[in-house]
């Protein structure tokens, strides 16, 4: 079956979720990917939404973080303070799934302002939401974002969610308990932090994408892993389930 680069990105994100993992899900692409995973290889994936629904099993794609289908199908519905204090903060969540307006070389995320200064921004974005603490407290973070030169920048204009700061040791110094952004999935391929430098490195391409294209759409001098892989294209089943979900 033919597929779009967005479909490839969503399928790749879904595959990153192991069965049985507990996943803190934002709305949009992360939610689509998590629901796809639950319908394919990860039947026992636990979906936690910041609206307070734990273990939701929506029979359709939720249209917002507070969709009634989440409450109707959850194992437990709790208030918003509890979801952050009892469930996210102590490190009970395996994977946090985040999007980004800007993402930099060291995995820091900006969803606040672009251009100008904070008080007089070029573009005012929606802001932090749950992201700063998701980025801090989940065992690991997966970022799903379309790869463009505007989005993939040397240094974000505003650190909304902390990745690796400007390199190794900073998370540890700040006392952040989660491992931070361990995986960035784009419409072109996959980036992972170098274990030594914490810089995001291209580790896999989606089928049919070349390195030059990825580098063109990256705002820093992108390093490429020695053992650069190429992902599997979406299977027919993955595409069928995904299109069923999003139609």
């Amino acid at each position: 079956m033919n597929y779009s680069s967005d479909e490839m990105m969503t399928v790749a994100a879904a595959r990153a979720l192991r069965d049985g993992a507990v996943c803190f899900v934002g709305i949009g692409l992360p939610s689509t990917a998590a629901n796809l995973a639950r319908r394919t290889h990860a039947e026992n994936l636990v979906l936690v939404y910041e609206s307070g629904t734990i273990g939701a099993k929506p029979d359709r794609l939720p249209l917002s973080i507070g969709d009634g289908v989440l409450a109707d199908t959850a194992v437990s519905v709790v208030g918003v303070p509890e979801i952050f204090n009892y469930w996210l903060q102590p490190g009970r969540i395996d994977v946090g799934f985040l999007g980004a307006a800007q993402l930099d070389r060291f995995g820091n995320i900006n969803t606040t302002v672009i251009g100008g200064d904070y008080r007089h921004p070029g573009v005012r974005l929606p802001g932090a939401g749950g992201a700063p603490e998701i980025a801090a407290s989940c065992r690991e973070v997966v970022v799903v974002v379309r790869q463009t030169k505007r989005a993939f920048v040397e240094r974000v204009d505003f650190v909304t969610s902390f990745g690796f700061g400007s390199g190794p040791g900073e998370r540890e110094e700040l006392g952040l308990r989660g491992a931070g952004p361990q995986l960035v999935i784009t419409d072109l391929g996959v980036l992972r932090p170098d274990p030594d430098t914490r810089e995001l490195v291209l580790t896999a391409l989606h089928p049919g994408v070349d390195v030059a294209t990825v580098r063109e759409r990256t705002g820093w001098d992108l390093r490429v892993a020695d053992d650069l892989g190429v992902g599997e294209p979406p299977t027919d089943r993955e595409l069928t389930v995904l299109r069923e979900l999003t139609r």
Binding site: G52, G66, V80, N85, G127, A128, A131, F162
Partner: protein
Amino acid sequence: MATIAPLSEAVAHVVRDGDTVAFEGFTHLIPFAAGHEVIRQGRRDLTLVRMTPDVLYDQLIGAGCARKLVFSWGGNPGVGSLHRFRDAVQNGWPRPLELEEHSHAGMANRYVAAASGLPFAVLRGYTGTDLPAQTANIASVTCPFTGEVLTAVAALELDAAVVHAQRADRHGNVQLWGITGVQKEAVLAATRSLVTVEEVVDELEPRPGAVVLPSWVVDYVAEAPGGAHPSYAHDYSVRDNDFYVAWDEISRDRDRFAQWLEGVA
């Protein structure tokens, strides 16, 4: 004991010029009818508080009711940006909008502190981000037992809280269920409170997952069936997703918005 009153009367009592006021709701149960009444009553200089200011706050901001916004995520959920919010922040139209910005965890804990009668709350939050530099309401605090440094946020004390719920009984006890967000905390953090409800019933039969606010912590209850539209009231209505999409068009243009605003008045 809560007073059960018509919406216009209740809003007039609870929301006053210059108030710090939260119209809470986490996608679900957003008190649109009460917010529109605030626009009709021409309230000014409000400090609007909400974790997820969305279309209702875009409307209040565009209508010139707000002086300041205290929030953690301002967008049109599932659609994109809030154009009246952006226009106010980027261009000062119809008046400048001061921002105080937090994370969800920070805002939730600020409500908890106020509901608990404490001046601050402790969390693991904001660490390494650029947010603390922009407000005095985020600080650090040292654990007296371990020496660990944590984040403190100031209690979010409100003059007024407005929320929507499914039901109240004739004594003014309020019941809401489904996604219940921070509505309880907002009401408990406020000096004055108003709950709009889908209906007033003789008896609140117990519901799974329901939060009940006893009458004696609520000041006003007003019947406003459909008062959460275009958001929804679990088991009463469904979300009008088309309106959220339509809002993107309506709000992009100042004239188009002005036209919409006339329809509210």
